[in-house]
Amino acid sequence: MINKVLVANRGEIAVRIIRACREMGIETVAVYSQADKEALHTQLADEAVCIGPAPSTESYLNMEAIISATVISGADAIHPGFGFLSENSKFVELCETCNITFIGPSADVIRKMGHKSQARNTMTAAGVPVIPGSKEAVADVETGKQIAAEVGYPVIIKAALGGGGKGMRVAAAPEDFEGSFQTAKKEAGMAFGDETMYIEHFVEHPRHVEFQILADNYGNIIHLGERDCSVQRNHQKMIEESPCAALSEELRSKMGDAAVQAAKAAGYTNAGTIEFLLEKNGNFYFMEMNTRIQVEHPVTEWVTGIDLIKEQILIASGEKLSYRQEDIVLTGHAIECRINAENPAKGFRPSPGTITDMYLPGGKGVRIDSAIYSGYTIPPYYDSMIAKLIVYAKNREEAIRKMRCALGEIIIEGIDTNVDYQYEILRHPDYCAGDIDVEFIEKMSAE
């Protein structure tokens, strides 16, 4: 039973969680860094606790302070949002030790899914298709070359603890292998302090298609359909939509079953996401499992009509899922654009600063999840995403038009944003035709 939730995050996701709690009659506690005293989440929550200085290592990643804030404020649960401590198994263990309900999966599952090779082994055992690749860590170039030949070029070299594109390189042919391997390894050592490397077959021109999972504590697992997140820049998603234009009903059900299978194999509970790479020929491969709520969850909410944050809280309270798989029907089409404080003309350089004026669009089928307001100063310490614009219409074509209209209405003065850049994407013939893959942005930038 959850009476009071501490939201261990900031920005729009913290606001999103506070709103969901408020609707459910649950009290909220915000935590904030010294740089976030004026932030919307701090202001909006029922209570707010300052947990440290601006750098996130000393505030939003400060486990001891967050646990103390929870105990002192009398909250009985923590919602971690995404990023920060959301996939930190040690933090979840601490919550367990302190009788605090962590709104998310168990520490054990997070640990298992966080380690790429372990996750992969779990999936292989469960019969979920994975990309052919090295079974064990690859220590040196020679072994690497051998494995690369077995799985077939092009190959991708990845750090075991990697993420966000760091410690990751593609080798198109044997002669590129050594250079790519060394660079990736060095990068991994620097970024994660771990040089464990893996090699996989590189799937060419895939789409990024992920399935939303909900699992309760009683073994009931369903999927809420897919999201196409192929529009990415440097492995960072920019636009997400549901459903995916490339999925037939048959393929959806096949991938959905695999996703549920994957979640079962992991012993998963709460909301999670199974990411797949989808090839043009319809082959799909498990990529990774995200053991948290995702940035792009609103598109799923719109096509399914289910409030994912509320479901997370209900599951964590020990409720049974109130939906069965056959209840889930995807209706219409939803698209989300991430609005970032950055300057696309200057290499997407972050653009913190004060918003002097702003106007955000509305109307039927337009949703904005944000934490900004007129006069708000975006601090330079955190992620540059300041808002999510989500639109909903009966089909993809109409949704694209609606998104263009909404983007055209947005006014954010005082800082640079990627709104115009997003607009360009929405006008691109390939995007409009649904002909996208993970290299779309790269190709578009080259044009």
């Binding site: 039973m1 009659g25 209570e47 001891e64 103390s68 105990v71 909250a75 030790t97 605090i100 708000y376």
Partner: protein
Amino acid sequence: MRLQNMFKKTKYISLTESAETNGRKVFTAEDPKPEVPQGLLRKCNHCKAAIIAEDVKTAHYTCPKCQGYFRMHAKRRIEMITDENSFEEWDQDIETANPLGYSGYPEKLDQLREKTGMEEAIVTGKASINGNEIVLGVCDVRFMMASMGQVVGEKITRAVERATEGKLPVVIFVCSGGARMQEGIVSLMQMAKTSAALKRHSDAGQLYISVLTDPTTGGVTASFAMLGDIILAEPGALIGFAGPRVIEQTIGQKLPKGFQRSEFLLEHGFIDRIVKREDMRNELAQILKLHRSEESSQETASEIMAFNNTQGNNKIASAWDRVQISRMKDRPVGSDYMEQLFSDFIEFHGDRYYKDDAAIIGGIATFHEQPVSVIVQAKGHDTKENIVRNFGMPSPDGYRKALRLMKQAEKFGRPVICLVDTPGAFCGLEAEERGQGEAIARNLFEMSGLKVPVLSIVIGEGGSGGALAMAVADEVWMLENSIYSILSPEGFASILWKDSKRAKEAAGVMKLTATDLYEMGIVEKVFAEPAHYTLENLEAVSNQLELRIQEFIDKYQNMTAEELAERRYQRFRAM
């Protein structure tokens, strides 16, 4: 617009009500309340932050947030430093007497024994560190601030005696409040007793490494703590004779921040190195390895390529050209050769009197698997580094450090290799106050009698007495474009002709080039340099040096101490 207080902090709708309307369970007694279990978190004494107790353990008993050091139990220290199951404890049950009949003392000891599970404030015994056998002592501050009474003194003395007899190195992890007041004068005598035992150990040519940890003060600092051949310290440890509070009360002044901390002592020349806890074991092992007495295998130098001077450097440069080449900004400096010629270098700091002089870098390293002492006059690669290194101009503290390291080399039978590159000894107020002249003179005096081979190589500028203080050697070598002279050409012109602008002319008459000096018999070897000598083509010279250094060592290391000293005497006697 400011949002402050625009949204009211609402004390929410009654929870039971909303819970009921949702048809959900209301709070019941079985639901355990969120709380932080006892012992899960602890507070850091340094940054005051709450930290997870478990993290402190995995971080070698340092604070995961501020990296501050926690004091360690002796047992944990032994676990952290020594090879598993290698520790064999000695002298566990020496009874602590009460020589003053001090009231309450025996009871206090009993209480502490119960509380700490220790018999006294130090644990001694035999152990190994990465396979290197040692005699080990570890103080534990929980037992009467690890003060030194008769038992502590006796345990150390016995351990050292056994080490001397067994030809084993001694490592002591020191922390202490000082002498144990409750035992009065008997306690004071322990300072003399332990020092005397260490003197015998040292005279027997055996190694003693002391590792100073927080806090090391009083009579312990004034005895066994400061007598290590090599003194290491943990970062941020308080080390001093009088405690800071006593000093403040005595002089009525607030002490500066960082006073009496390890870093302060390093700067003031009293410790060799600051070593982080996580590196301690490996550093100790490395030092021990370099002091192993067994003969090291001699590698043949066959794979070294001889330097072939095909650069057309034959057209003779003028003396002034050479002066300028010797001062070129991109010319390799001491540290570059060190990296190229030696492995496993461990730097030792300080003169043990006043300061650590960054103009001289010294320590031990291996040359073709053989331990050697390396002492280098250090110029920097850029202005920033040059400011730190005082442009390679050593102060008296630098020469005293060099001499200390040469004496250490003599004790452990290691050849000494000096690289000379200095415009001259530092000329300044402080240098005179601390006896620049005396320091140089002392080096000439002592070096002439060193019982190990000494080689000096002039790699750039050999400026006067400042260079000679590291060049009373069995052989002195020069690089083709290095110079070695009584004074800089500018100084020479200024003294003799009252015009420093005539430096170019002075260079011509001073006979300061390598060829001049070779012809005069001042130096034994001259090494050719590439046309534009930089880091890029350093190997061309260093390969040649490597080959010749091996020959030098082969030639001199089998000579007796007397032979070496006599040859060196005659070398300079003839000049």
